[in-house]
Every structure is written in C-alpha cells, then in structure tokens.
C-alpha cells in the first residue's frame, strides 16, 4: 500500500503493481508466509499504535498503518486506488461509509467466525463489513458558561433531547448539518424514529429555532463549545470526551433515546495480504481487543462482555432508540431535502 511502496519498493506487494492492475481479479494469492498487513485506519493515532503492538504480540504479523483523519478520506483513497489497491484493511468510521464501497465491489465479503458472539445488528447483512465498536450521540455542555449564564435562570442540565428546546439555548446551541455530516443525519433520523414522522419534524423545526448554525462536520461544534463560543452542542460522545480530557470545561451527556453508529472494519478486495486481513478481523472481535479499544477511544464495544468507557454510563443504561438502518438509508435523500427546505425557509 502507500506504506509499502514508500519503503523503497522492497516489499513483494509493491514490486509488481503493474501486473496487479492489468488483471486485478486474477491477482495471485499472497504466499501464506507474509508477515505483513496494511491498514487504513480512520482513528486516533494512539489507538492504532496500540492495535499495531498488540496484533504483533498476538499473531507475529507486522501492521503497516496509515492514519487517516476520517472514514471519508479512507474510503476516497480506496476508491482512488481501485486500479491497484494498496490496503488490506479499512478500519474505523461509521458503517455507512462501508456500504457504498461494498456495492462498488471494492471490499471482500468476509464473515468472521467470531461474529456469532455479537448482536446481529452489528454485522453487515451483505457481509462486506464487520462492526466492532459503537459510538453514541451526545450533548456537549460548556459547564462554565452554563453555570454562569443559564443556571441562575433556573435551567437544569439537559438530560433528554427534548430539554434542548428550552428557549434559553436560543443562539447558544450548535449542531451539524444532515446534508453534510453523517452524524447529523443519524441525529435527525433518531428524532424521526423516536417521535414518529410528524412530531419528529416538529421537534427538528423547534430545535432549529435554538440552533445558531449548522456546522459542516459533526465534530466542528465541539471546539466551538469548548472555547465558549456556544453553551451546548450535539456531537459524538467519544469525541466530546476526547476534548474534555484536554482540560476544557465541558462535559458529555448521553441523553435517553440516543442513536448510535457502528464502527466498521472490512477487508479490501485485492489487497496485498488477504489472509492476514481475515486474521485481523477475527482478532478484532476478541474480548481483550474490545476492552483495549474501549479504554483508549471511549467507545462502546460491540461485545456485551466489555465494560463501558470510563466516564460514560453503562450501555445497558443507554436508552437507544430503535434505529432502523435500512429505512434510514432509504429515506435519507428525502429527509435531507426536507431538512434543507426547512432551514432555508427561516
């Protein structure tokens, strides 16, 4: 992959990229002796380093990783490289990013034997991707400003999505746009599933009255809240925790009936080390790896036998909305359009 060809072309995989592209389908299987694995990781640097270390300990295989800043970037790379794939594994980011890749035939179908131990909603019905962690949406609250400005008015810390409709948040709440941010769409769909079509839209419309503006990315609001530009915002809980750990006066609140994303992983079709890739997926689903990741990234593991992340409520206590992924992706275009019209009509 990027890493391998960068190392001076010594690696066998990169020695014959031309041959590989001429007949990608007929690419010969890499010899089982391969002790390498190329991973495109849309995750934290520290996290992937730990995974690299532990995988080596457990299997003796060297991971060559490329850290990417987001799953969009990873999937774009895989699309751009389809003529001669450089990666074996793509990992991290919401499963929604994996579906189109699978449809384009860029992913290898693989269902790990370990997937049986996991709730079926975390496994791709089509078999392209494998869920291995879970992130939930949460509220970020700037405690400083909240205490100074809202508490004196008798406002309580928000516990539910509905609490955000309090007019005291007017112009002080920030969230992201479903048309541009994956998380924002999940949030919107969450409301529709939670309250039903009509009331759901009603909620979004009312919330719109409080929203200062919709950021392009799901995480953009966190910094703005952390530095005190806004009092509250909506984003991924684990990202909020990351910022909070830096020392900002913010806290994360996971409200009832929140929605979640499934952290994906998949085998890239035609990658240089296909066998090792499968081994990696199997390994990823084991309990120790789940525990390690939870500790590092503040995300829930898909395994029920793994403790929740520190500072967050137990997964049993998280009241997840009944989120229908198939329906969500079906109605997406329509919802985004309606949403765009709604905020445009302001």
């Amino acid at each position: 992959g990027c890493g391998s060809s960068g190392s001076g072309g010594k690696a066998p995989a990169s020695a014959e990229p031309a041959g590989a592209t001429q007949s990608p389908a007929a690419k010969p299987e890499t010899p089982a002796a391969s002790k390498k694995l190329v991973v495109y990781a849309a995750m934290n640097e520290d996290d992937i380093i730990q995974i690299q270390k532990k995988f080596k300990e457990d299997t003796g295989i060297d991971i060559e990783y490329l850290r990417l800043s987001g799953p969009g970037e990873a999937s774009t790379r895989i699309q751009a490289e389809k003529a001669s794939p450089k990666a074996d594994i793509m990992i991290g980011g919401s499963s929604e990013f994996y579906d189109p890749l699978g449809q384009q035939g860029l992913l290898e179908k693989y269902t790990s034997p370990n997937a049986k131990e996991i709730d079926s909603q975390f496994n791709d019905p089509n078999g392209y991707w494998q869920g291995w962690y879970m992130g939930v949406l949460g509220i970020v609250l700037n405690t400083d400003r909240f205490k100074k400005e809202l508490e004196p008015k008798g406002v309580k810390e928000p516990k539910t999505w509905d609490d955000l409709l309090d007019p005291n948040y007017k112009g002080q709440f920030i969230t992201s746009n479903p048309a541009t941010a994956g998380g924002a769409y999940i949030f919107a769909a969450d409301q529709l599933f939670r309250l039903g079509e009509e009331k759901g839209w009603d909620y979004l419309k009312k919330l719109h009255g409080n929203v200062h503006h919709y950021t392009q990315g799901a995480v953009d609001g966190i910094n703005l809240t952390a530095t005190g530009e806004f009092v509250a915002g909506m984003s991924w809980a684990h990202d909020i925790v990351k910022s909070a750990k830096q020392g900002y006066p913010i806290k994360v609140i996971v409200p009832e009936q929140t929605a979640f994303e499934i952290g994906g992983s998949a085998v890239v079709k035609g990658g240089p080390n296909a066998d090792n890739a499968k081994k990696f997926i199997d390994w990823l689903l084991t309990k120790p790896v789940g525990e390690m990741n939870t500790k590092l990234s503040n995300r829930y593991s898909v395994r029920k036998d793994v403790e929740p992340p520190a500072g967050m409520i137990k997964i049993e206590d998280v009241k997840l909305v009944n989120y229908d992924r198939v329906k969500a992706s079906e109605m997406k275009a329509e919802v985004v359009k309606k949403f765009t019209d709604m905020i445009g009509a302001k």
Binding site: C2, G3, S5, G6, S7, P17, A18, T21, N44, E45, Y65, L66, R67, S69, G70, G72, E73, S75, T76, R77, Q79, A80, E81, A83, S84, K86, E96, F97, P100, L101, A179, T180, A181, G182, H212, H213, Y214, T215, Q216, G217, V219, D220, I222, N223, L224, A226, T227, G228, E229, D239, K242, K245, Q246, G247, Y248, P249, T340, D341, I343, G344
Partner: protein, 547 residues
C-alpha cells in the same frame, strides 16, 4: 492573423536551429500538460451524468454556486483594494514601518489549516477576546460577512504581490502631466493611476479570485450556514462518502475559473499599458496630502495589527495549558514538536523541493508563452494557471487516481508529494515569472545572441539573473504555502511521507489545540528561519534580494 502565423513559423524555424532548446520547451509543455490535464480529467470523468444534472436541480447546490460567486466577487474586490492600499503605501509613500507592512503581506501566505480560522473566532467571535471582552460588541462572525473578512485577510497577499510589481514601475511623469493640466489629486488618481494599474489589478484580482473560489479551509469553520461549492464538495467526500458528487461539485468550480481567466486575458490584452520606456525620470512621487498619507498609513497599520493579532494568538496558544480556555503558561506542548520531528522535516523538504521544482518548471513555460510563438501559447497559458483554479483537495485526489496506475504509478512515494505540491504551486510561480518576462525588453536578449550566445546561454546569463526578483518571490510564496498545505496532500501521504500538517490535523481532531498550535508555530518559525538563512547567504554572495 496571417502575420502571427508566419511569425510562428519563423520561430519554429529558428527553434529548429537549436534542437536542445526545442526539446526543453517541448518537454516542459508536455510534462505540464500531462501532470495538470490528466489528474483533472480523472476527477472530471468520475461523476455520472446524473450527478452533474443534480447540480442544476438541487437548490442547495445552486445556492452554493451563487454563494461562491458572490463570495468570490466581494472578497476579490476587498482583497484587491487592500492589496492596492498596501502597494500604494509601499511604493509611493514615505511612511515609517514599511518593513512591518512588507512582512504583513507575506505572513498570511502561511495559512495553516483550521488554526487560523479558530484564532479568528477566538478573537472576533461572539465571545471573542477583541469583540466581546475588549470592545463589548455583540457581533457574530459566522456567515458571509465574517467569511468575507477572513478571506480578505487571507488572500490579499496574493493580489499584493502582482500589484506591487506593477506599481513599482508605474510612470510618474504621466501623473505629473495630469497635474500640469490642472487635475487635482483625486482626478489624477481616478484618471491616471488607477487605469494604468489595470494589468496589476487584473492579475492580482485573478490570483486572489481563484484562491477564494477554491478555498474551503476557512469557510468550513467561519461560514456558518452559508454554503459554498468547495465546502459542499469536501463534505460530500469526507462526510457523506459520495465521491462522484464531490467531483461533480468541484468540476462546477472550473467553469467560473475558466471565465475568470478569459475575462482577465481579454481585459488586459486589448490595450497597451506599457509605461516602462527605459528612459527613467528622476521625478519623485507627487506629494499626497497629509490626511491621505496618514490615513493610508493608519489603514495599513490597522490591517497589520489585525494580522499580527491573529497570528499572535496562534503563537501564544502554543504556550498555554488549554488553548482558548486556560491561558496559563506551559511548555508541555513543545513535547509534540520534538515528537513530530520526522513530519516536520518532511514538510520542509517537500516544500523546498516543490517550490524549487515549480519555479524551475515555470521558467521555460513562461518563456515559451511570452517569447516563442509556437502556436499553443494560449492553451499553455491556461494550463499553467489551471491548478490554481481547482481546490487543492481535488488536485490531490486527481493525482491519487491518475498516478496509481500505468503509465506512471508512484503513489505513496515522496515523489508524488513533491510533484503534487509542485503543480499546485505552478500558477503562483508562473504568473510571477510571466509578469517579470513582460518587463524585460527583447533587445537585451538580442544583444546577447548578437555577441554569440545561444538560447541557453542567453537564458542563463541574461534572463535568469534579470528574473531573479519574480523568480524568488514566486519561490518564496510557493515554499511558504507548501509548508502549511494540507488540502493537496491529504490523499497522497503515506506512513513514511506524512507531513506536519497531517499531524496538526490529528491533534486538532483530538481537541489538542495547544499542541496543534505549537506544531504550527514551530513549522512557521522554521520556515521563516530557513528563508532568512537563505537570504543571508545569498546576500553575502553579493546578490541583492529585492522581492
């Protein structure tokens, strides 16, 4: 028409006499064509027709298109105006602090991703240190007006560079002629100075406009609900995994860029504004009234303070415990700087290499377009500017797609990083060298031929030394913007070729803003230190370094 054809024929005949020159010019042209057109085509051909169709039907995107046009228009105006003020003050007025003003016209070229935009918010946001704490204003920076401000400050240096070059050589005696006929200062400005600065204004505006048009780093944070084409395109890709739609959106950007280019060439091309006659007069600039002089000075000072504050916050943030919240002093962020040594070194290496390569390539291109009429000038001219019109992300993406397969596959190497940055910088170097060449009379070249030097000798001994100014200023600009470039390389870096900005991005995503600004600060300081060292060594070797 016929005469130009016959001249072209004559030039071809002459080039035939010098096969080496022909080879170099052809090679430069072909390399440029290949590395610009091929990646762009890759991006353009990605979307399906239906994707393109939605550009017209989706109101969000028609809005974004209109917004982009509007933002480009007003930012170009303000960029050019500020650039003009600075160029006027620096070339015409006898005011103090010229060194500072000159510095301020370079500083914003180093525009590290995210951090600058967030510095703006910290200073001028709703809770901004300046706006709220000092001035007690209830302003709201988010939206088109805030973005306008930020884009103006970020991109006026590009317009400045072009304008400065032109205004420095403006003819004073024409102004005196107008005064002599009874024109007041304002009338002289309106009737003479302004119209004669037209090529500079047009060139500067073009460069600024293309940059504003293609930028997404600032809008993504500052624009609020204001949608723009590049941000839409970027979000389609990174947030919504719709690569074809993203490509379609960025292709839509090419249309206005092409229009801008043609408008510019048409506007400037028709009339002659040559004021450099070779006969220099010793007239000093006509004294401007004190209120104009000090008014302009104050204006420049204000802009300077503004820029310095923004960058000051950035630097200061590097030494604070929690960036933007807890301002107490700490050195802990410096740890990351040492930790990311390799990335920083990569950043500098690639920036140096690509700036050098871009300026070197731009020379034969500018030479071919300006001096040799070989038939394809117009096309070459446009192609050399084209990379400036596509958002960096898409240039990078184009590279990732185009050079991952035969005939040329070198993704993942340092080479692709350098080549991509090089072509991204090409328009900057090219326009600078082109303007420079236009000012050198052909008789100098002829004198050199006449004394027995071939095209190469003439180029080396005469043109190159005379082009030093534009050449260096193009190179410096390229270097500075490469050091802090993220967009172009985001799809191109590999584990071993990761650069400083990628680490900054990682830190930002972790919310570690303090460390991110420490890294940014260090990068900027190293970049300027290298520049300073280069200038000093050149100076010691007896070359004047007039930029």
């Amino acid at each position: 028409m016929i005469s130009s054809l016959s001249e072209a024929w004559e030039d071809l005949k002459r080039i035939k006499n010098e096969p080496a020159l022909a080879v170099v010019l052809a090679a430069a042209a072909i390399v440029t064509l290949y590395f610009v057109i091929w990646p762009v085509l890759k991006v353009v051909s990605l979307p399906r027709l239906s994707d393109y169709w939605t550009l017209f039907t989706n109101s969000r995107w028609t809005d974004a298109f209109l917004h982009s046009m509007f933002m480009t228009a007003i930012s170009t105006l303000s960029c050019t105006a500020i650039a003009f003020a600075f160029a006027y003050a620096l070339t015409r007025l006898n005011v103090p602090l010229k060194g500072l003003f000159r510095f301020v016209t370079i500083l914003p070229i180093v525009s590290p991703p995210f951090i600058v935009a967030l510095s703006y918010i910290l200073l001028f946001g709703r809770q901004g240190i300046v706006t709220k704490q000092i001035l007690h204003l209830n302003t709201d920076i988010y939206g088109w007006h805030g973005l306008w401000l930020v884009q103006t400050i970020t991109f006026f240096p590009y317009a400045f560079t072009v304008l400065y070059g032109v205004m420095r050589t403006g003819s004073v005696s024409l102004e005196y002629a107008a005064y002599n006929l009874g024109a007041s200062r304002w009338q002289v400005f309106k009737d003479i100075v302004l119209p004669l600065s037209k090529p500079g204004l047009a060139g500067g505006a073009l460069i600024a406009a293309m940059n504003v048009l293609a930028d997404f780093g600032n809008p993504i944070i500052i624009a609020g609900n204001y949608t723009l084409l590049p941000t839409e395109a970027y979000m389609q890709m990174s947030g919504l995994y719709n690569l074809p739609m993203a490509a379609a959106l960025s292709t839509a950007l090419l249309v206005p860029a092409l229009c801008l280019f043609m408008l510019n060439r048409y506007w400037v091309g028709r009339r002659s504004y040559v004021t450099v006659t070779g006969k220099e007069t010793s007239l000093p600039h006509y004294p401007v009234p004190l209120y104009v002089k000090w008014g302009l000075f104050s204006f420049c000072l204000l802009v300077s303070l503004f820029v310095l504050t923004v960058y000051g916050v950035l630097f200061y943030g590097a030494f604070t415990k929690v960036w933007g919240y807890d301002w107490s002093f700490t050195l802990k962020n410096m740890y990351y700087v040492f930790d990311k040594r390799r990335e920083m070194i990569n950043s500098i290496n690639y920036a140096v290499a690509s700036a050098l390569a871009a300026s070197l390539l731009s020379l034969p291109l500018a030479y071919a377009v300006q001096r040799k009429r070989i038939g394809v000038n117009r096309i070459l001219d446009f192609i050399a500017l084209l990379p400036g019109a596509v958002p960096g992300v898409f240039l990078g993406l184009g590279f990732a797609m185009a050079f991952n397969e035969p005939p040329l596959a070198f993704t993942g190497t340092s080479a692709i990083m350098i080549v991509a940055l090089m072509f991204w910088n090409l328009p900057v170097c090219y326009s600078s060298n082109l303007a420079g060449l236009q000012q050198i009379g052909t008789s100098l070249e002829e004198a050199s031929y006449n004394l027995g030097a071939g095209s190469f000798g003439t180029f080396r001994h005469i043109l190159l030394p005379l082009l030093r100014g534009p050449f260096l200023s193009g190179m410096v600009m390229s270097f500075l913007r490469s050091v802090t470039c993220l967009s172009v390389i985001i799809f191109l870096y590999s584990a071993k070729t990761s650069v400083g900005t990628i680490s900054i991005l990682g830190l930002v995503q972790n919310g570690a803003w303090g460390s991110a600004s420490a890294l940014t600060g260090a990068l900027i300081i190293i970049a300027f230190a290298i520049l300073g060292a280069a200038f000093l060594t050149l100076k010691r070797r007896g070359h004047s370094m007039e930029l």
